[in-house]
Symmetry: C2
Subunit: 249 residues, 2 copies
DNA sequence: ATGGATTTGTGCGTATGTATT
DNA sequence: TAATACATACGCACAAATCCA
């Protein structure tokens, strides 16, 4: 953004330590493109002065980011940015995990983390057009690209119609391929609601995130071309690694 | 979500004090609908046990949320939730601020916060199909619904073609109406990229948020029906107050 | 090769904030 | 409310690595 002056501000007694706030500011600056990749950060004394804190405090922030794999510090030379670009994840009527990321990553796949049969909750039942309490299968999956987790999804299917989809999913490693086994050759995104929130403890573990990380949440209903709901899903994307690109719905 | 066990976990030495973490967890629980509106929170001793901390620590968390206007504590009765539901903001080919929120709010309008003429930055120039450095007008606006800020947008227009749009905007209070004055009867969303991040200092001020709040960021290019770019925009939505509902693009 | 400037790394004493008992 | 332990933040000083004139 042109003509934007520095608006960093550090707040004391906020419940968040100064070093953590500074670390977050630095992450934000990197994301905003203030530092080119592999470029040097301003020296510790400069950062300390900019944020109005002691150099030790800045050092704590840098140490945390080094630990998180964002920065690399070299004695006598400086501190350097290691971070990578965000993946651009397409969201459209026919988005499929593997096809959408072509060209951005060399390797991508989905792992099945868990599955269970359970009675449909209110919102799952509504999404799938079933009565509340109808048995549904829940699949918990994680999408990875170049070895990094980029999505975590819970998806629900009517248990009667898709019995054994968990085993098929393990075998094929693809939702699209699994649905084909059940006679679903094509499906469309009927509705999608997006929100964002802090990652909860399960997100942190499944997506390998640091406390305080943000997840984008997409709740979607997928239907067959003739409009029958087949899947209700809630997908969480780590906001620091993924952006969502809307295409024709 | 059915059958979901409690997964809250508190981390020590993370740079975020325990009371702040617990406050965030409570916010999260409220957002997830664990407590009905105006319902009582579990008593302090129960919360202390759930999170594995001392009751003093829980009290600090509650005090902070009372301070932030999220909870109300009454001696001898309990602690109660004050927060409201999130607005569902439609994102589609023809989304307009005022029309999309009908039925959810009784009052809504846009305020022009600032405007400026400036040379187009790289990304603005790309979005509008102009040469970098071409003069553009930037409008900074805030959307409000029922007196609460629900969006903050920066939008750019070619200065030559839309000279004086800032004054028109002040007069009409509507982007759509302002563009009509310049002969634009219809426009479409050509591309949209969504991401999420922590609110920066300017977001906190403009949207009246607490430090650590999350904003959903939508970067969009709007075009005339024949495909000419007329507007490049970056809109920030406070994630705690707004969700985005995708409709046909 | 030398010296000075710059930058990160380390040590220590003190004060304050946080959390438990 | 008080005592205790630990984390956070500061100030000062100096060491070690790097860079450049």
């Amino acid at each position: 953004m042109a003509g934007q002056q520095r608006a960093d501000s550090i707040e004391r007694r906020s419940g968040v330590s100064l070093w953590r706030q500074i670390a977050d500011q630095v992450l934000h600056s990197i994301a905003a493109g203030d530092f080119a990749e592999n470029a040097a950060l301003p020296p510790e004394v400069a950062l300390a002065e900019r944020y109005g804190v002691n150099r030790h405090t800045v050092r704590s922030a840098i140490a945390a980011l080094v630990q998180e794999g964002v920065l690399r510090a070299e004695q006598g030379r400086g501190t350097f940015v290691l971070s990578r670009k965000r993946l651009s994840y397409p969201i459209g009527a026919r988005t499929r995990f593997s096809t959408g990321l072509q060209g951005q990553t060399s390797e991508r796949h989905i792992v099945l983390l868990a599955s269970a049969i359970e009675p449909a909750s209110q919102r799952v039942a509504e999404g799938l057009g079933l009565a509340k309490g109808t048995e549904v299968i829940r699949l918990e999956t994680r999408g990875e690209a170049d070895g990094r987790p980029v999505s975590r999804a819970a998806s629900w299917y009517e248990a009667k119609r898709f019995a054994g989809i968990d085993a098929v999913m393990t075998e094929t490693g693809s939702i699209t391929a699994s649905l084909k086994r059940f006679g679903i050759d094509d499906y469309l995104r009927q509705s999608t609601v997006l929100s964002a929130r802090h990652a909860d403890a399960t997100d942190l573990a499944a997506l390998n995130l640091q406390p305080g990380a943000i997840v984008l949440v997409a709740v979607a209903v997928n239907v067959t071309p003739d409009g029958r709901p087949i899947q209700f899903s809630e997908t969480r994307f780590p906001a620091e690694r993924v952006e969502l690109k809307l295409s024709a719905l």
